[in-house]
Symmetry: C2
Amino acid sequence: MADAARDDAALPLPAAIAAALEEDIVFGRLHPRERLIEEELAERFRATRHTVRQALAELERMRLIERIPHRGALVKAYSPEEVRQLYALREMLETQAAALIPLPLAGDALAPLHALQQQHAAAVAEGDTRAVFRADLAFHRALYAHCGNLFLAETIEELGQRAQVIRYANLRSQASMEWARDEHAAMLGALRAGDRAALLALCVAHFRPAREAYLGQHPTLLA
Amino acid sequence: MADAARDDAALPLPAAIAAALEEDIVFGRLHPRERLIEEELAERFRATRHTVRQALAELERMRLIERIPHRGALVKAYSPEEVRQLYALREMLETQAAALIPLPLAGDALAPLHALQQQHAAAVAEGDTRAVFRADLAFHRALYAHCGNLFLAETIEELGQRAQVIRYANLRSQASMEWARDEHAAMLGALRAGDRAALLALCVAHFRPAREAYLGQHPTLLA
DNA sequence: GTCAACGGCATTGTCGACAATCCCGTCGCC
DNA sequence: GGCGACGGGATTGTCGACAATGCCGTTGAC
């Protein structure tokens, strides 16, 4: 079990608890199938059980946990086949979205993306994995927001959330974080240059490795 | 405001309330922007406010309503531009899914679909719009379940739910219900014959009209 | 006459306590 | 010795009451 609540004060309490648990799941401090007990969490976060309950509902909405009536909440586990299907859909959507981004991207549209990329790079440099995680999410959201279709962008984000355990398993290796950083930079270059083919290739190449690594590491996870 | 709770007993109470409200929204008994007041609903469904709250959370998850903290729940409204984007994504996903269904579909895979189509046809014959609505949902879910990608099927269903107000605005016209029925039959034919081109054409043609009708009818709905 | 501050009312959000459910070890019967 | 019924303990679900919030009409000052 992980350490106590991080002070993400300022955001509503249930959201803060959900965020903390989300990180616990992403960073493997809570493993698939592990049970989440409301009262324990309430104590850990010094909140009422009611508040914890709301946080669990939020995590269920994000599909990071599964709740079985009268039985409680489990960290969700994906079978290799599910991972393959999830990634197939993500690839299809992200490819489509990348194809829809107007190119070249105007300078004032590029600036915020660039700022996010810098944030990500800084977090990588400091080895602050939590910040890397958040910055990476923000970068990808901002990137696909430019596809011009609100629903497509939302769907991509939701599926990305579901895949978090897989996507961010590599946050333990400095090398792969640096890889991601450099690919982000390359994407910005393609956006600026208006090089559609390069952008598409980068988007696909960007998330394939995580899938492979996960499937290699959990070869026969039954579920 | 609509009439009292329908006896969808047997399913958990919050789900039953959510289903009833869902139908109210789909059939236009609750219009976009209309406010949902917890206590009124509690009285109407003879449930506690707590139960109603859960139902609202469920409807929010389905994106049929919007909840603003301390201000309550509103039936969600879509601007014409949002409708266009939503439909663009739906078209893309349903086309892809239809392209992935293995053809021709084996007989024992066809049978359940056929049964659902019959249910739909029966409901159309009786003019039971509620049943038509439910049967149509079931038919499409079963159809796209055959695409072989769980997540794609789920995503299609979720986006379909979000589009319900648009999709089912035509349930007030007997003619369009009969149209839908005939198209379902044609889809089954294409599945059986293994005619991919026909299947794709049907899937696209099947939901375009609802979009046009909605956009025509709500020409400048601000939002 | 206009505008800002106040206060009452409708509504939503949270709490603590209690009820319902399920898992699992124990007992008794065959 | 195996197996089903029973029951205790842990855990989740629900309730009624109370607190917090925001809207809106009213008031009063300038």
